[in-house]
Every structure is written in structure tokens, then in C-alpha cells.
Symmetry: D2
Subunit: 306 residues, 4 copies
């Protein structure tokens, strides 16, 4: 069943580390408050961007407790419960519930090979174990399975799922999902996770966005949401162009790829902007440095942010 | 170098066959005229939708000659020269030039494994051999290689490529391509091939669309283009919703997949609408029949087209 | 540095569960003893077959403690430390070391996207943290990265890796790895994880095998190893044919796939053979039943095992 | 129905070109005669190695006519009819039949997306059109579809297929295919296309091999076949080790990949051995040169071939 609390801009939060790879709570609070002050409508903690899979269980709890404390009820907090299979996801879900989050987010199970029967059972087992709104996180690039529209709609209509966070990179399928959801009376909150095509997602009727780039630039995403709500599509597109230009920070690093380039660039930019103290990355990933940081500074400068 | 002739709605044409799998020129002319009367801005003949890879060289020429004759200069005609490697692509390009097309469209080479060096050389060899505007067709689902933004921009700036027809299904990358192209002064005409996300593409600044669905419903795509040009984004989105609903014809067939479902559905719908005489498909593909055709009729009816 | 203890047949152990999904220690001990009595040369616990990714940390420890206790020093025990990234793998490695295993087995990190730099750093961090022989587990079907020969050889020569457990399904690459290892003076113990092509692996010089099917039929794999050591290749091939025929238990189940079919079939066969009490599977996977179990019985019967 | 003529070593022939990229018939005849003198049991012309997909129809005929003329009935000639879909494959099959080949080899259709129904229909249409033994060429790395065992066995039992040329790189599946074929009374001739694991394939009961490397070193492959027929598996493995070492010619080139590295290395080695006059490659591929050729010479020297 969809839930009106989970609409608008819900950034997946970056997790700042000290040089010694401890959680930098001060930087984390500063970053969260900066986004909350900019008007974001929720926080998604312990998603891929939060380096959830690099974290021990103790670190996960530490990150989540800090976020819930900082948010302090100002906006709802969604917690990722990313892990390989059901039992571990349920452990994380219970931890998150004890900490006081407002909803949880789970992917399809991964590593062990399976089919849609296992994916469906996984969502049902989680929902039975923990009475919290549950979002499905569609991220085939990480879990190597695509969540089908049939499955999502069925679980939405039955109230197993509250919504979908789409990072599938498949905009055609995403549009069909929006279309099916509308036809079914909107049982699902549908959020896009792709920073540079939020305009198209809003035009198609998405309920919000989960843009990692909002850790760097929260205000334009909030403005974009407001413009979309007001039907000012010209402004939506202008802001998208600016954000697409800024998103080039993840394209300019050389010699790195994937998480090291993406979240690495977010952290480097946030450090250059004075939001966080260090751009340290979790093992086994190296922080960006030297010319890669210079290239990111160049993008920030060309966007008027330095 | 981009070319103002190749903007707007440029449908990839469906190739009607008789029951005996001969080219049904009468149906083909009817379908082309129907799209031209609706105001489409160009025709893309011998693309994937035209069943180019199912055709002998003689059949390719027959299709192209018919299209050029029917178009009769009313709009520019782009010809696909799809084949596995350079020598064959050049043979097709020369045939197309002799028939009098206005531009040609080539994919990366495929079947034999290679890297970007071979892809780049391939486009250069073609452009050297045939003096016609050349579009790169980015269709990794068929050729299993993605054309990089760096390569496309380099070939655009050098005048090797006039444009790109994007069927990559990668909307994030597509947005970055639009962004780079704008920053470089628009050396490329950039067209999207995805029927249900044309609105987002136009908002990002795409020069046009190549929607297979326009064989079924040309008029709404032309209206959508006009609305986008006028900045009426609300209307753009409304039309997109209608078209996304209609595009469900490719989702409803059961027990078939890929080309058989996609182009199969276009043909079945066109037959039901009286545009073509038969929905016959090329060997080894079976035409849709029975309940699958009924399901397509259902979608057409729900769109008010029957 | 290679280690002579890790040669021969080292089955990845199946984890029997009770109907309530508790660890069935009695069945587990019976299965382990049956393999040890058959003469296997080691045990690989907490690999994919052991349902490691379905297990909480507590369950992992319970499985490992039971295995170490049953093995009681008769053969070396390798422990999988499968998890998404470095910190968690090190937690598992320390648990395994405390329990008293003889070596550990790690895959490339997964879920978060990266490159070979992160894979290499991951193996180095683990080896630095825990002073135990470390095997690289090459299983791209689960982690979606292939370990390159260059990386494996470099880490072998430097003593970071003791060996490789190959489940890559890439026999050509495997042969080149064997070839490189021989040329370098055999710094690595190289084990194949593919049950039906052990004969070819032994001919190429592999140091052993890790056959899940040995949970069902341990004796033929031990005989095959002995025949290979004696140069009796005719016998090696005969045994392989028998085992390939038996391995059809994983092919005959209908309507299931991946882990549910593979380990599901092992468990069903072991139950039918009286080795374990239940073929229960971990959530979210369903145990095989009905006609699928009958089909497995059919294969067992055709192999003379019932 | 299997056919005893197609057993043993059947090399996929390399196509030598002049510097101007014409067919170098003299070099071609020299290479073919060298293999025939070494005792190979057949020739597979116009496979991937023959650069079939780089060739115009005229070039295909020229290559095939030369091969048939040189073979002159000494061994059977198989002709590849590689193309995207049925109609073109049948055109090539008719050309091959007119030229006088002994059998034809077809892959699954590619480029257009489809399912197993289209693959099956394709083989049936070809077999109906041309009365020649038909081999299925299983090469998913090029056509992106795997031929299932069920399909191959069904078409074998019905006499549509005479055999299978396996370049799937999936040795586990290959072993199951051999197993099923044996159980069915050997309706198929099953040949492996992987140069470095021929020993394992022969142990599993394969009817022969199609090794591209035999263009460089035909004699060891013939010896290996003879040793396998005599049950001298120790010798089979020794020869395989030598051939695996020689096959490193395809691994040593830097900065190139796929066809350019693989067939490029075969041609470079053949030129260095005096078999062909030039190592020219078809457009858009560049011939290996400089340090890459030196590296190949190094491998040849280490094998005692220079």
C-alpha cells in the first residue's frame, strides 16, 4: 500500500569516514542537516551510496542511529537492509526497527542463483517478520536480477510492498511500471534513483527521487520537485540540465570505476565544498586523489559551486 | 556534422509481407502514406523494425526502392545498412546511395569480437566509401557493444557522423550524450528510438524520435513533437501516457518474445486497423495469431482505436 | 605459496537442516563421516553448497564448529568466508580462525561495482588480517567478476594466495592457469569445482577437486583421484562417466533453478539414500518435493544407488 | 543422423589475404596442403576463423571454391553458412552446395531477438532447403544464445542435424551433451572447438575437434587424435600441454582483443613459419605488428618451432 510520507526528494545518504575509517559523526550530521535545511522530504540511509555492504553490523547500527537522531522526526527515514539472503535481511530489518526507522528497503536476494519464486518469497518473509513499510530496491547492476512489473504490482496490491526504488537503468520498463501503477490506483510509491533523468520520471508520474547527487547539491533537487508539483516543466528541465552537468563529477575520474568513481566523486566534492572533513573510502576502495580531485573541482567550478 | 533535415519524428518503417512472404508493396505504400499524411518528418527504412536482417540483398533493394518512390522527396529517407562487418555494410551503403536515399545508418560491427578501435575504423571506412550523412545506430541489445560518448562526440566533431539513433535503453548515458553534444555546439543530431520515453528525451534536448509505434499511431507522435517545440510539456506528457498505454500491444502476447512479440505486435495492430493486408512475418518467425491477436485488439480498443 | 595438505578430493559440504530449519547436527555428522570414511582428503565448509549466504553469523559458527569437531584433525578443513566486502570477510575469517580451521576461502568482493584493484586489495587485506592459508574462490556466476590469471599468479608468487578453487565454468582459462602455474613452479594449489569435468582437470594437472556431488557419492571421486595419481586414465574417464550420469539429478527437477535445483537435488538424493533426515532448504528456497524427488530417485536407481 | 566421415581433426581454416586484402590463393593452398599432409580428417571452411563475417558473398565463394579444389576429395569439406537469419543462411547454403561441399554448418540466428522456437525453425528451414549434412555451431559468445541439449538431441534424433560444433566454452554442458548423445545411441557427431581442452573432450567421448591452432600446428592435433583412439591418454595429455603452451600466442598480444588477437595471432604465427605471405587482416581489423609479432615469435621459439 502506498504511503504519502514517502514522496519527494529522498536522498540516499553518503557516509563520511575519518582518515582512520571510523564513522565521522560530525561530518555526517552536517551533511544531513544541510540536506534537511534544503528541504528534502526524507532520507534513505544504508543504501548502496551509504556503503552499506562495506559495513559491519555494528557500523550499520552506528550509521542508522546517527541518522535517526539527526533527523529527529523532521522527515521519515528509510533504512536499507541490503544483504545476500532472507535471514540476514531480517536481522538488519529488526535492528532498523529497534532504532526507530519509518520504513525499510530490500533488494532481491543475491549471490545464490534463483528465480522469481525466491524473490517473491523473500519480500513476503521480510514483511511478515517486521511490521514496517517495505520498499523493493530494483538494482540489477548489483544483484543481477530485474524485478518484474507483474511481481511488483502483485506485491503492491497485496500490501506487501509500499513502494519501489528504481535503480534499474531501464527507463522503458520504468515507464510501463508507472503506467501499470496508475491503472491499478497507485498501490505503490515509485521513486527513481537516477540523478540525471528525474525530469522524465516526474513527467511519467513518479512519486519522487532518490538522487545520490543531492548529497552534493540538495537544493536544486528540492526546487525541481516543487517545479514539477507546480507543473513548471520548463524549470524542471533547466534544473535537470544543471544537475546533469554537475553529475559529470562521476565521469571525470580516470583509472577508477564503479563505486570508487561514483561515491568517491560525491565524497571528494563534498569535501571540497566543506561539507565533510575527509573523502576517505571503506576498504578495499581507495579515496580519489590528485588529478581526479582536481577534475572534480573543475566541474564544481564550472557549476559555480566553488 | 548535424543536419537540420533529420529532426522530428522519423519512424522506422514496418515491412508488410504477403502470406507468401513477398513484399506487399500496396500495403507498404499505404502505411508510408498514412505516416506522411500524419506529418512525420522523415522515414528510417531497413532498420531492425524493417526486418532488415531477415532480408536478402534483393529484398533490401526492393524495400528501399519502394520507400524512396513513395516518399518522392516529401521527407528525407534514411536507410539502414545493417550487417556484420565493414565490407558488407559498404555494399549496402552503395546500393542505398544508388537508390537515392538521403542518409545511411550503421551499427557497430558484430558477431566477430573486437574493441572500440574496430568500431571507430568501421564508421570511418563507411564514411570514406559513401558520401552520405551517416548516423550511428546504438543498439547494444542486438550488437552487444555500447557506443561510448567519447567515440560519438569525436566522430561528430570530425564530421564522420551526422547523428546518433539511440536504442541503447540507457537513459542516463543518453542524457550525458545530450549534455556533451550541447556543450560542443551540437555537432550531432540525436534521436531516441524508445517509444515510451520520448517526453524525457525531448526535455533533455533530443532532436527527434524514431518510434516503431508510429507505424501504428503516427499522429500522436507528430502532435507530441509539435507540443515539445511549443514548450507545452503538459501536452507532451499526456500524449506520452496515451502512447505508453498503446505500446502495451508489445507486452500482451504470450509465449513469444523479442522481434516476434515487438514487430509481430506492430504488424498485428496494423492489420487490425486496416493499414496492411497480412501480419505475416519473415522466416523463421511466426506471425501472432489467436489469443495474442485478441489481446492486441483489446489494447487497441482501450485506446479508442477500434 | 601452495601447500601439500590441500590436494585430492575436498568436497564442499552440504548443510542438513531440520524441518524447522535448525542445523541438523546428527545428519551433518553422519554425512561428514560418510565422506571421511570414503577417503576424502579435506572438507570445504561454508562454501556456496553449505548455504553460507543463507546463514546468520551464529549459524555459520555452528556449522563450522560441528565440522571441525567431526573432522577432528583427520583431514584439513577449509572455511568459506563469503561476504560482500572486506570488513565482513575479515570478521568471518577471524571467527573461522578461532574455531580452528586450516585455511580460508574468499571470493572477489561483490554487490558494489569495482575493478581488479579492489579485488587485489581485498585479498591482501584478508591475508594481512588472518594468518591462515588463503584460497581464492573464482565463481563469476555468483560474484560477476572473473579472477584473471595475472592476478592469481601474482598473488600466488607473493604468498598472499595458497590456491584457487575454480568454479568459473571457463575450462579454457582454467587450462591456461594450470599452464602458467606449472611454468612458475606451482605456487598455487589449483582445485576444480566442476563435478563432471574433473577428468579433464586432472589431465591438465589440477591438484584436486571440490565436487558438491561427493556429498551424494564420495567413493567414486576418491577412486577417481587414486586412478589419476596412478595414471590410469581409462578408469578416470569411466568413473567420470558414471558421475556425470549421477549428476543428472540436478538437471531433472522441473520448475526450479539455480540453488534450489542444485543443492536441492543433492539434499533430496542424500535423504533418499538415508544420509540426512530432511531435505529442508533455507528461506526463501523451497525444498524439492513430489515429482521432482521421484525424478531424482529415478536417476539414483539408474545408477544402482537405490 | 551422425555420419562417420566427420570424425577426427577438422581445422577451421584461416583465410590468408594479400596486403591489398585480396584472397591469397597461393598461401591458402599451401596452408591447406600442409594440414592435409599432416593428416587432418576434414576441413571447416568459412567458420569464424575463416573471417566469414568479414567477407562479401563473392569472397565467400572464392574461398570455398579454392578450398574444395585444393582438398580435391582427400577429406570432407564443411562450409559455414554464417549469417543473421534464415533467408541469407539458405542463400549461402545453396552457394556451398553448388560448389560441392560435403556438409554445412549454421549457428542460431542472431541480431534480431528471439527464443528457442526461432532457433529450431531456422535449423529445420535450412535442412529442408538444402540436402546436405547440417551441423549446429554453438557459439554463444558471437550469437548470444546457447543451444540447449534438449533442442540438439531432438534435432539429432529426427535427422535434421548431423552434428554439433561446440564453441560454447561451457564444458559442463558439453559433458552432459556427450552423455545424452551416448545414451541416445549417438545420433550426433560432436566436435569441440576449444584448442586447449581437446584432451578432456576426447575423454568424454567427443568425435573430434575443430582447432584453429591446427592452422599453426596441425601435426600434434593429428597425433593427439591417434593417441586418443589408441587409448594412450598420457600421450594425449602431453600433446595437449604442448599445444596449450603454443596457444599462448593468442594471449601475448597487447592492446588488441577478440578476433584481432586470436586470428591475428594465428596469421602472424603462420607468416613467421613461412606458411602464408602476409598477416593482413580484413577491414576494420588491423594486422598485428611490432612488439606483438615479436611476442608471438617468442612463444613459437619456446615451442621449438623457429
Amino acid at each position: 500500500m502506498s504511503d504519502p510520507r514517502f514522496r519527494g526528494v529522498i536522498p540516499p545518504t553518503v557516509t563520511p569516514l575519518t582518515e582512520e575509517r571510523e564513522l565521522d559523526k560530525e561530518s555526517f550530521a552536517r551533511s544531513l542537516n544541510r540536506m534537511l535545511d534544503a528541504g528534502v522530504h526524507g532520507l534513505f540511509v544504508l543504501g548502496s551510496t551509504s556503503e552499506v555492504v562495506f559495513s559491519t553490523d555494528a557500523r550499520r547500527r552506528e550509521i542508522l542511529e546517527t541518522a535517526v537522531e539527526v533527523a529527529n522526526g523532521r522527515v521519515p527515514v528509510l533504512a536499507g537492509i541490503i544483504d545476500m539472503q532472507t535471514e540476514r535481511m531480517i536481522e538488519h530489518a529488526r535492528d532498523a526497527q529497534a532504532i526507530g526507522v519509518d520504513g525499510i528497503v530490500a533488494t532481491a536476494p543475491f549471490y545464490a542463483l534463483g528465480g522469481e519464486a525466491e524473490i517473491e518469497a523473500n519480500f513476503r518473509y521480510i514483511r511478515d517478520a517486521v511490521d514496517l513499510p517495505l520498499f523493493a530496491y530494483d538494482i540489477p547492476v548489483c544483484v543481477h536480477k530485474k524485478l518484474s512489473i507483474d511481481l511488483l504490482m502483485r506485491l503492491g496490491r497485496e500490501g506487501v510492498l509500499t513502494g519501489v526504488k528504481d535503480s534499474s537503468g531501464d527507463d522503458v520498463n520504468f515507464r510501463f511500471l508507472l503506467e501499470e501503477n496508475k491503472a491499478a490506483g497507485n498501490p505503490l510509491n515509485i521513486l527513481t534513483g537516477h540523478e540525471v533523468v528525474v525530469d522524465g520520471a516526474y513527467m511519467g508520474g513518479a512519486d519522487g527521487s532518490v538522487p545520490g547527487l543531492a548529497n552534493v547539491a540538495p537544493r536544486p533537487y528540492v526546487e525541481q520537485w516543487d517545479a514539477a508539483q507546480a507543473g513548471d516543466w520548463k524549470r524542471v528541465a533547466e534544473l535537470q540540465d544543471e544537475l546533469a552537468h554537475l553529475m559529470r563529477i562521476v565521469m571525470v575520474p580516470k583509472g577508477v570505476q564503479g563505486f570508487a568513481a561514483g561515491v568517491g566523486a560525491f565524497k571528494a566534492a563534498m569535501k571540497e565544498l566543506g561539507v565533510i572533513a575527509s573523502n576517505q573510502m571503506p576498504r578495499p576502495v581507495k579515496a580519489l586523489e590528485g588529478e581526479n580531485v582536481e577534475a572534480i573541482r573543475g566541474v564544481l567550478a564550472s557549476c559555480g559551486l566553488l
